[in-house]
Symmetry: C2
Subunit: 481 residues, 2 copies
């Protein structure tokens, strides 16, 4: 392989500094993560992209079950009348739902909408299932597809149909519902930080930004390479709003019938977009090892030489007992082409095995995160690979945290906020009086929104930079996906 060929191959991806949006599109298409579907607003998740979703499902589902939740499945289609029961919820979702009007050639008696989220159908069932305090808490999660009609599309980030999980719980008291809401946000933080190596800011959404029908919405927010924020997961305390509208009542220990308290929480295929934009570079993807569809790729070098392919296969089979491993034994591509290919795919660790390696009882290893090249003894390889993957996870997390810190500014000067959002966007930590007017003004004049009132409040000043009145909250603002 000539150096020329390598450059040509890498050049297929537009540098992110040049055009971040084109970089994203190049990366997702060229790595076979996704394809555009011939249906407006829809995407096809190809095996390599879906493999990441399977990884996210695996690490999230495990934690949902450890915290006492069980999975169930509710209908895709919901009668029109259900949507109208909760007024805020209706207002929030009616403009973007898809309507089913006919079955075969027959017009339906009542129109059905495709779930954009499932509170209405799930609360209807809960109202039947919950009768006594003995039936509480209800701790149920659903893995499902939902549809919110969108005309523009950014794969993983904004599509009409997407995959997600939605937890829906019911509790006897306000305190328990609040505890659940925060517990699941913490589970999401663990998924993001401990599995996807994606640092997040935790906090509460403003009234304007909260979920349609919730009392309080909590969020985790991540910082992308282009300085825009991504809402990576949300957890809602729904108070008694849905319980009252859908009549979820229970006979309490004291013999009194009471309305229950409910929560809902969700993460989606959006997280895959986050992984790409938090970790990727101009060579392509960088997969966080714990959800990477392929953690280790084994490349036989000069594999027409006797014994090379056998040894590569042996190592692959040994590692496959503990890791997701692929052997690339295609003879239609050069080694150099393969190096670039697997780097672009973002496989965390590449192991090369050639005649010299076999002679020395070693493999040559290359880390995707640092591109560092080194040798490893074949003996004890499994243990060593495990350690390296852990280290790659930690290094990727640290790098992402450093990137976020470099893109986080602290100021209470509105002119400076405007300048930052225009020239060099990122998170701005600042103060806020709490008014909707200031929130709207910020959006209109800078394009940025309040991402959250973080749990870790700091006192940065006494006045709101937008109106000069008394500041009530420290906030993170940013442009967002």
């Amino acid at each position: 392989m000539g150096n020329k060929k390598e450059q040509e191959f890498v050049k297929e991806i537009t540098p992110m500094e040049e055009d971040f949006s084109q970089w994203y599109t190049d990366v997702i298409l060229k790595t076979d993560m996704v394809d555009y579907a011939p249906v407006k607003g829809c995407m096809v998740i190809k095996p390599y992209g879906y493999g990441v979703w399977e990884g996210i499902q695996r690490v999230a589902d495990k934690r949902f079950k450890e915290t006492g939740h069980k999975n169930a499945y509710f209908p895709l289609l919901i009668p029109e009348s259900f949507l109208k029961k909760e007024a805020d919820h209706f207002e929030g979702f009616a403009p973007e739902v898809l309507w089913v009007t006919h079955g075969g050639n027959e017009e339906l008696a009542e129109k059905l909408f495709i779930r954009p989220t499932s509170e209405t159908i799930i609360c209807t069932m809960y109202s039947k299932w919950v009768q006594s305090y003995r039936d509480l808490p209800v701790l149920i999660n659903q893995w499902a597809n939902v549809v919110r009609w969108e005309k523009t599309i950014r794969p993983f980030l904004r599509t009409a149909e997407f995959l997600w999980q939605e937890g829906h719980t019911v509790h006897a008291t306000e305190e328990e519902a609040q505890e659940e809401t925060l517990k699941m946000l913490e589970v999401y933080r663990q998924v993001a930080e401990d599995e996807l190596a994606m640092p997040v800011i935790l906090g509460q959404k403003s009234e304007k930004e909260k979920f349609a029908g919730a009392n309080k919405t909590y969020t985790m927010e991540a910082m992308m390479h282009d300085g825009k924020a991504l809402q990576a997961g949300t957890s809602h305390n729904l108070g008694q709003n849905f319980a009252k509208m859908f009549d979820i009542q229970f006979l309490d220990k004291d013999g009194v019938r009471k309305y229950a308290w409910s929560t809902s929480w969700g993460i989606s295929t959006r997280l895959i977009g986050g992984i790409i934009m938090v970790h990727g570079d101009n060579r392509g993807l960088k997969m966080p090892p714990r959800v990477a569809p392929i953690q280790v790729v084994v490349l036989p070098i000069a594999f027409h030489k006797e014994g090379v392919l056998d040894k590569a296969m042996e190592i692959k089979n040994e590692l496959a007992k503990n890791f997701r491993v692929e052997l690339d034994d295609r003879d239609t591509y050069s080694s150099g082409w393969k190096f670039n290919y697997w780097e672009m795919k973002g496989v965390p660790l590449r192991l090369e095995i050639g005649p010299k390696d076999i002679e020395l009882g070693q493999v040559t290893a290359v880390r995707r995160d640092t591109l560092e090249k080194f040798t490893l003894p074949m003996e004890g390889l499994t243990e060593k690979v495990g350690e390296i993957l852990d280290d790659i996870h930690q290094t990727m997390f640290n790098t992402a945290l450093k990137n976020r810190e470099q893109k986080t500014y602290t100021t209470t000067d509105y002119e400076e906020i405007k300048k930052i959002m225009k020239e060099n966007p990122g998170f701005v930590k600042t103060m806020w009086c709490g008014s909707r007017e200031c929130e709207d003004k910020l959006k209109e004049e800078t394009g940025a929104t309040i991402r959250c009132m973080p749990f870790e409040q700091e006192h940065l000043g006494d006045t709101c930079p937008f109106c000069g009145k008394k500041a009530e909250h420290m906030i993170y603002i940013a442009k967002a996906y």
Copy 2:
């Protein structure tokens, strides 16, 4: 617990000899497998039912991956024009698809239908992805929800929306496509027999019964307690039909552009209905251990006595390392009530721990399949439980096979076939000339259909029992779900 209470509890389920259909409904509702949804034709799969589906997904997905398949995800909604491309397919599915006509308040430019199966959208993508022989084979599977408009409902067996997997593969040659079609039927057989303990007959569907758009459909058929057959999984050789209609062409090694060959195959939540009707009895469910949501339930007896609850918890935690275990420490129910409850739920193995058991260093075990009661030493319990669960699997399979054999008749006398179907339905092994006329006549006069032409052909006679002409195939006929 009095014996009276036990009987009352058990009496909640209608005996299957009295009314099989009511027995089924009682079992699925009282064991919290499922609930009816307030949407015509739809069901809610409750956690205990969904747990079985998770089990089926686990054992099937593992085999799909071992045979080289990867998962992906394609859109739920498909433009109207796609359905019209394959004429047989259109004719088969158009009457039962649901139509989406509006997004928000806006009428859509082209109507969309909700996938009843995904050949049309998946083949459209494949036509783009497949260009060269190097791109073949394509081995993709999708876990998804599909909708076929039904007005009547039998949970798990016939519902408008159901969950399934659909494999869609593309191959360079007819031979490879045929090999894949049969390989996946064999995978399904393994899932049914080796995991669900459900014996199946393998064979080919008649022209009338094959999938709309297929060249050949293969099936696995199981026998239910009421003598009706269940089509438990199908695998289709689609020939070049879809490749031609959706233009899936590739440049072959010889430099010639050729149409590809494709297959599709699916199993669904129907299998859960099969598990219920193959294994259940008048006490309720009998869960096959390998997909049971709960494999072992641990019951502390007299657990106000010191040490009992601690010991039960200890055993539960120890077993939980290898099995799906639940500890029932509810103090609001008697032990007798719990025995019946967990028998009804069909948990394969119940372990009771009381003061006497602790004293003797043992647990008391009860098998759901045989209701046999015996003691096990606490030492080496994990290994022993594993052996018992394997034995329960085997015993359940043998029992189901015996039931099937008892309900399988062999005759070439049409009058006898009529009598069997009327009085004591089951499988009838007989001969067939191959004509559609005889197939229609059979259906009309007996309500039975040709389930398949089994791979294991036997020569039972020279003439077709329905018309007297030359017999071409040995067939299994039955009434079916």
